[in-house]
Symmetry: C2
Subunit: 224 residues, 2 copies
DNA sequence: GCAAAGGTACTTGTATACAAGTAGACAAGA
DNA sequence: TCTTGTCTACTTGTATACAAGTACCTTTGC
């Protein structure tokens, strides 16, 4: 497992949560892997308590499954769960982008401009990991622009399942179309073109279908 | 605080979570109230650990706010949060009921029939608390009918804010229209009439606007 | 050889002890 | 009177100890 630096003032629990989450999404901790509270605690130089609390949090999002008195495991990727995540994302993203089309602050637009610029930069550099971060950030900025940040947080917890599937594929495929989609979405928001924006979200999400198929073919052992 | 019976095989953590959640939603624990891990633990005859874990869970849904080394408090009702909850519910409910209109099992329909019957029964009896439970259950059944139960769980966590506002008003108002709405929704699902179903969800949600206004007028001290 | 019993080493669940930080009471001193 | 320091009693955060259940291996008996 990759152990990042502990941020200043970060609580033990938050540190454990962040570490586990990143390792699971990046597939560094593979689906099916057993998670021992004691082992993780030792690895992070913490006691069991904060580690346990972090694991409970992650189990709430069904990304870790706890079997009392037996053990805890990184869940296998569940096709149905990924599908529902996709559905929620589809429905919320379309509703929110329409709000954003209704007008948002200069600030929010600037941040999105900057984000898209960086996406193009790292796309050329071929830095898939950085791209994934910017991708997530871009969609978050849309929610912020629509003043729906709490809703975004909720979306995030469900998106964990989706993120795992994207993780590997985005870092190898480096699809230029995804960045292109983001550019066009931003344009649609600026133009206040709801119809175009919704169509773009729809097209955008369909791309991940390929990711899923590719991953399922390449790593069937990750799936339930 | 009202302490329910502990269910058989229920873990201490689940028991603490359930107890706190119910007391908060029912406004038995009023917005702004301080929650002491020690006090709750004593009251439920548990140690701090499971109580603490339950409190952390509830803080994830922003229904309890934890100030480290200071104290934990039942959050005041946040208008923006209620608004976002309403938005999420609106968007998801409309999408899901359309799926249900696409056809669902005989079983699911039977359960909904039964539920609506009970709603009418308890409406006449004037049992608001029982009505609230049935109301929640009805909407859950729609999600189950659409095979979107995980999505419903996500919806639930955000709905806590909404539920608090409904709690008092539903128990006093006992609006016959709400039960009527449910009947019509069920009919629309049976008929596969998407358009009608969506319109009903829309109308249904608008009723709660009145709840909010009533509550804000009656209990301004509960709001942020 | 095989089956059953029991020990052992793990797991998570819960309880308790201690650490660290905050708020308020209260008294001492300017 | 007001300020300041300290003590006390609280809070949550973390560490540790113990309880209870599971899986597996080993040993014992046939």
């Amino acid at each position: 497992m990759l152990v990042p630096d502990r941020l200043p003032k970060e609580s033990a629990r938050d540190f454990a949560f962040r570490t586990l989450r990143e390792n699971i999404i990046s597939l560094e901790l593979k689906p099916g892997t057993q998670i021992s509270e004691n082992e993780i605690a030792a690895e992070l130089a913490l006691s069991r308590t904060p580690v346990r609390e972090a694991i409970i949090d992650l189990s709430k999002a069904s990304i870790i499954e706890i079997f009392p008195q037996k053990g805890s495991y990184v869940t296998l990727i569940d096709q149905k769960m990924v599908e529902e995540s996709r559905f929620v994302r589809d429905v919320l993203d379309k509703a929110v982008i329409q709000l954003a089309c209704g007008g948002c602050s200069r600030e929010a637009l600037n941040e999105m401009d900057e984000n898209v610029l960086l996406q193009q930069f790292y796309l050329e550099k071929g830095d898939g990991s950085r791209l994934l971060t910017l991708d997530n950030q871009f969609h978050r900025l849309i929610y912020i622009a629509a003043d729906m940040e709490t809703t975004y947080q909720m979306r995030s917890s469900m998106m964990l399942h989706f993120d795992r599937v994207r993780s590997l594929s985005l870092s190898t495929v480096k699809d230029t179309k995804i960045v292109q989609d983001h550019c066009e979405m931003l344009d649609a928001i600026k133009a206040g073109d709801r119809e175009k924006a919704v169509a773009l979200v729809d097209k955008h999400l369909k791309r991940y279908e390929l990711d899923k198929l590719w991953m399922r073919k390449e790593h069937p052992e990750y799936f339930k």
